[in-house]
């Protein structure tokens, strides 16, 4: 109850900030989005209220601001410790972005700050987008740098360098395609500070990781059916090939995780005001080359690392992972309220409710994900 009260109090504060923005004149992309998330798995509960404001000002300048609060209640099983204590931790995140558009070009910058008791993250980024071919295509470029600090350990710092390109093209009035490539370098403290490896102690993964992701997405709308379909595919792989390795490290790619993710979404309008979205996401990945399974309850061995192995981890997300996530979402355009006393204020916006079941074949077990959101155009 205390957790919920804290979350609601933070949300109301954020909403009060948002209301201050509502007075200005409206523009096409301007909106306030609020969202509440409830995530539950065997040993973790998360309540997360979020709010985001996007506003376009005069002379092509746009700004956006985001605030969210994570309230994580977790039993230590998920954290990998050996006791059974339950604790609640709060994470606050604030983000701010500003952009300038001229002709078909937009340049922008973003900053994000995330703070919890044992982890602080600061991320800065620059982005560029360019409309091409009669503005039917958009090319995007993003560069970012993140500096994460983990004060509960002595060498707790991780640097992340990120680069991404993206191209979106309308092929017809009802067909969109998008391709994206991202590369990301993690350097420093990559482990989980709370997970202990049997017979070894705190984790010790390689301290550099080069990550690549290719993504292809397509969307097709069928006007006669008032329905649309999206298909997403993502190929992920990481490497350590060119990175400096200590002499005792094994040859070859220390990381080597290879992952495939497919997601299918079907959208269907139901009457004038409702839209139903059904989706299914499937993810499969192989393990990192340095990783071995130390969990006997999942077919592993506690002695799978030798005393001389320089790299070891018991974090299951770096092992073989398979997940499935079916989801149903209903969006309701609230125009029906426009003549209803008191409720007319919500009429310009849209509310949504979604439920997903997240099936995991790791020790975390299956999870429930419930979201409720409301978007109000400014």
């Amino acid at each position: 109850m205390k957790l919920l009260q804290h979350a609601i109090r933070q949300s109301l504060c954020a909403l009060a900030v948002v209301v201050c923005f509502v007075q200005a004149p409206a523009a096409a992309e301007d909106r306030v989005s609020t969202r509440g998330v409830y995530y539950r798995e065997a040993s973790t509960r998360i309540v997360e209220p979020m709010v985001q404001v996007t506003k376009t000002g005069p002379h092509g300048v746009d700004v956006d601001a985001t605030f969210l609060l994570d309230a994580v209640t977790s039993a230590s099983v998920a954290a990998g410790t050996t006791t059974d204590a339950i604790f609640t931790e709060y994470r606050k995140e604030a983000g701010f972005g500003v952009g300038y558009s001229f002709n078909r070009t937009r340049v922008g910058g973003t900053f994000r700050y995330s703070k919890e008791s044992d982890y602080t993250s600061r991320t800065g980024g620059l982005n560029l987008s360019q409309g091409v071919w009669g503005n039917t295509g958009t090319f995007g470029l993003t560069l970012a740098y993140a500096n994460d600090l983990i004060p509960v350990v002595s060498n707790g710092q991780m640097k992340t360098y990120f680069g991404g390109v993206l191209y979106t093209q309308a092929l017809s009035p009802t067909w969109l395609v998008q391709g994206a490539y991202e590369v990301l370098l993690n350097e420093g403290f990559l482990e989980n500070p709370y997970i202990r490896v049997p017979n070894k102690g705190r984790e010790s993964p390689p301290r550099k990781r080069l990550r690549h992701a290719w993504a292809l997405r397509t969307a097709k709308y069928f006007p006669a059916l008032a329905a649309g379909v999206q298909l997403h595919y993502r190929l992920y792989f990481d490497q350590s090939a060119f990175l400096d390795k200590p002499p005792e490290a094994p040859a070859g790619n220390l990381w080597g995780i290879l992952g495939h993710t497919v997601e299918l979404r079907v959208y269907k309008s139901l009457g004038r005001d409702f839209e139903l979205r059904l989706s299914y996401r499937f993810h499969k990945q192989g393990k990192a080359n340095f990783w071995c399974n130390t969990d006997p309850t999942f077919g592993g061995r506690t002695d799978c690392y030798s005393p001389f192995d320089p790299y070891y981890s018991a974090d299951v997300k770096w092992g073989n992972v398979g997940t499935h996530m079916p989801e149903v979402k209903l969006t309701w355009d609230l125009r029906v309220f426009r003549n209803v006393p008191l409720l007319w204020i919500f009429a310009p916006g849209a509310a949504d409710l979604s439920y997903a079941r997240y099936f995991q074949d790791t020790r975390y077990g299956d999870a429930h994900l419930l979201q409720v959101g409301y978007t109000y155009p400014l």
């Binding site: 989005s33 998330v37 973790t44 979020m50 985001t66 969210l68 994570d70 998920a78 954290a79 994470r91 994000r112 995330s114 919890e116 993250s121 600061r122 991320t123 091409v132 071919w133 009669g134 503005n135 039917t136 090319f139 993003t142 993140a146 983990i150 992340t160 390109v165 191209y167 093209q169 009035p173 391709g179 994206a180 990301l184 989980n192 709370y194 990550r211 690549h212 992701a213 290719w214 997405r217 649309g228 999206q230 992920y236 990481d238 490497q239 070859g252 790619n253 290879l258 979404r265 959208y267 839209e275 979205r277 993810h283 990945q285 997300k317 770096w318 997940t323 997240y358 979201q371 959101g373």
Partner: protein, 80 residues
């Protein structure tokens, strides 16, 4: 397999450049006129998930070691 992926990485900028060049240098008219974009503005045609996607990506990054590909970086530990 590793060789294949290394080649993919090496040729990524070239592939993007070719795709751009094909788009930019095409003599044909744009495939969609401004007055034909009604359906492109539908929710079903948007790849951006906004706040909904923000939580999902954070969740996936804490439970799957192969996250990425959706334009986000940074955030919390997710280690509890």
């Amino acid at each position: 397999m590793a060789v294949l992926f290394n080649r993919l990485v090496r040729w990524a900028p070239v592939a993007v450049a070719i795709a751009m060049a094909l788009g930019l240098s095409s003599c044909a008219h744009p495939p969609v006129a401004p007055w034909q974009r009604e359906y492109l503005s539908r929710r079903a045609m948007s790849f951006s998930d906004g706040l909904e996607g923000r939580f999902r990506q954070h969740m996936f990054s804490t439970r799957e070691g192969a996250d990425g590909g959706f334009g986000t970086v940074g955030g919390g530990c997710g280690c509890n």
